[in-house]
Symmetry: C2
Subunit: 460 residues, 2 copies
């Protein structure tokens, strides 16, 4: 394969074609450490033209390509296989903010920009880019697009797909597709950009995007509430939506087991303990300084007076930390089998009830850590202690997954709400996705990438 390296180096410059074990180390293991690859090399192109030249060369020589952003996939979507024959194309040098159009409320950025850099560029123009998630300092826009990322403000602003107006993509034959429009309405032909959003790099390589911006919120109201049941949580969600409309920006749930984890590692951090804790945030732009007062009155009227309303930014930050540290606290408490499931919000109580019962029946004493973006129907539902002392947990992984995904399927839910499929869930996708939908996916893959060079070995 070494005769392939010189022409690749000629495209990106020798310094930007990484081949030594030391240089490629950051690119070959996934974020969770579950997948390890051995690539031909790692290329770091700095322009869309360089990406197109790399892909043309790979297409001509049938070299498989693994696109990689910030390498924060939780499903191994951006990790090469062990063959030593795949080229990782990492986008970190393709990281310019190309344009901000404040009057059109749009920003055009290259795929290698971190999410935080895009948020900052929007803020510099007095506007908001609302996508927000735990890895925003290192994840990249190209990866956010390729997994259709969700995060903390989907309830109000939508997922990455809904935040995207235009894309620039290098197709599997090396053609540069220019769909980089900044239009909110466009019915001129198929909306081809939709194909590449959420495709995890298997249909083409996204090089740039034009994204929606919004007025900066000028008011926030953040509260932590305790409720007695999942039913009451969903009733509270609906009542908040009726009362505050789309000002309701985040609605997160944390089970009692989650709260016990906080109590164990940070005694006193939680102001109360309840069957479910809800983290609720309203935001508003324009002149609305009374948002906190309105939320307070609403909570009092509903008899949710034992909740905590953040009085200032530092209290707001502290409430959010309780939610955001859940993954970390769990990790400290030992391994778990993780799920990223979604069901209709109305079906959350039924899911929790049925799935909890089924798991307890199969694994008496099992521990279920359930939390997440309940306002979007999306729960992180993590399982441990299938056996005493949490020993041999991963031997039960398939059995646990079968129970969880069966319940999700029964409620017409999804086994991958916001993290994608990657290498982790391909076989479950084959099992539970509608056969006609799978046939369409395969037909599209065959049509656009007949040589199957774009991120092979994942789920398409």
């Amino acid at each position: 394969m070494t005769d392939l390296l010189a022409p690749l180096a000629a495209i990106v410059g020798a310094a930007n074609l990484l081949t030594t074990p030391h240089d490629i180390a950051p690119f070959i293991t996934d974020y969770r450490g579950r997948y390890h690859g051995s690539p031909l090399a790692v290329a770091l192109p700095a322009s869309s033209d360089e990406v197109a030249a790399l892909v043309r060369f790979c297409a001509a020589h049938r070299i498989a390509i693994v696109p990689q952003g910030g390498n924060t996939s939780t499903c191994g979507a951006a990790t090469p296989d062990g063959s030593g024959r795949q080229l990782v194309i990492a986008l970190r040098r393709l990281n310019r903010i190309r344009a901000v159009d404040a009057a059109n409320q749009t920003i055009t950025v290259e795929a290698g920009c971190t999410l935080a850099a895009v948020q900052a560029a929007a803020a510099s123009a007095g506007l908001l880019f609302p996508l927000s998630l735990a890895s925003e300092g290192s994840c990249q826009i190209g990866g956010n697009l390729s997994t259709n990322a969700g995060g903390l403000a989907v309830l109000r602003f939508g997922t990455m797909r809904e935040l995207t107006l235009g894309l620039e993509v290098v197709l599997p034959d090396g053609q540069l597709l220019d769909a980089l429009t900044a239009l909110r309405k466009d019915t001129s032909g198929l909306d081809v950009k939709q194909l590449f959003i959420g495709a995890e790099g298997q249909l083409g390589l996204i090089t740039a995007a034009t994204l929606k911006l919004f007025p900066q919120p000028t008011a926030h109201a953040t509260a932590l509430l305790g409720v007695a049941s999942a039913d009451e949580a969903i009733a509270t969600l609906n009542a908040l939506q009726a009362a505050f409309g789309d000002r309701l920006t985040s609605f997160e749930m944390m089970s009692e087991v989650c709260q016990q984890l906080v109590a164990k590692y940070q005694p006193g951090a939680l102001p109360f303990q309840a069957p479910w804790a809800l983290l609720v945030e309203l935001s508003d732009s324009g002149d609305n300084t009374s948002l906190q007062e309105r939320l307070l009155q609403w909570l009092a009227a509903r008899g949710l007076g034992d909740g905590v309303l953040a009085q200032n930014d530092s209290e707001r930050t502290r409430l959010w930390q309780l939610r955001e540290q859940m993954s970390e606290l769990q990790k400290r408490d030992g391994p778990s089998i993780k799920h990223d499931i979604g069901v209709p919000t109305s079906a959350i109580p039924a899911f929790l009830d049925a799935c909890g019962t089924a798991l307890q029946a199969a694994f008496p004493g099992v521990r279920i850590v359930a939390f997440g973006h309940a306002g979007d129907g999306n729960l992180h539902y993590n399982i441990s202690h299938t056996r005493p002392g949490n020993a041999g947990l991963f031997a039960d992984e398939d059995a646990v997954n079968a129970i969880v995904y069966e319940q999700v399927h029964r409620l017409r839910g999804t086994l991958a709400a916001e993290h994608g499929v990657g290498q982790l869930k391909g076989h479950w996708l084959q099992r539970y996705k509608d056969p006609a939908a799978l046939a369409v996916m395969r037909a599209v893959k065959q049509a656009l990438d007949p040589q199957r060079i774009m991120n092979p070995g994942k789920w398409l």
Copy 2:
């Protein structure tokens, strides 16, 4: 071809396979009367299974299918050709509301439901389905989906694509694709439903959809304002967005020529005349009765005190009628060459300036009627009087279109913002769309409909 009729009649029942000139008349001419077809027959299936059986039969016998909703396409997208060999499948009997899930804020409806019926079903559940457009009493959800309809509230709620969570589709081989989920987040594989939205029935036949609902607005504030220029109009748009966030639901512009048409046919109806009239509507849910007062104060502070603020529902209706009757008034004033263009909102002033100058240079005395959904960058830009007395207008159609679409293209706009392409604009699409985007569209068409039986003779 008559030997094909008996098996088709066996699928839908003889009474629902229309063949006589009288029976098929409502289905063979488009809304604007520009296209006239002569189909094999018109089938009226009542279930998704009947649709699938029709498509399977057509696939086996290579009969082309023209899906039709309310037959309100302005581009001839749902009109059969003159060959006598195409089967129109009209969805009007497939019109059940399958489910309303108020807690999940979703509704599942069949493709033949009128838009008004869906709005009404949502309202019965105390919720809003926000898509709203002139033909809502007769257009059908399947057509709204197939053209990715826009209308009057896109600024706040998005187009039909953004309002859609799930689809049920009969594929060109007759398979029923079940992507009828009610999930706001789903990254389990390609989002295949996106392919069929805006495809104008060329990739499959949509039979049902699950759509987003929203809290009913409880407050409206509607105003008609005059501004001195398009620049001032866009500055007003941006200032309204900053002040009121996404409460800004509609932002419509009408040129002075539009206002002159109103003055001609309805003297006294307009309270003022200005270079541009803006129709602005805010809406809000929950407890916000002071919305009108806030808008009034905002207008006064910006020196827009000569505007008219609707004081009650009947005044609100009257202001909207001024905008909604524009198409009708124009028609009374003679024929025009119509456009449905979109540019970034920031580029609207440059478009109006450059395109107006170019048209006046080519056709001295030309009349330009410009109005529309400026908040989305979408203008209806209609041309008449290219020659004295408006004689021989359509002889100039190609020349006029070339000027308009060239300016749109220069500003990275679209020649079809919300009406689709149909039979009317296919050749312009070929000319102005990115070649790689066209190649992807053709590859997808070939992959899903290799026999080319789905709505052939349109643009794919």
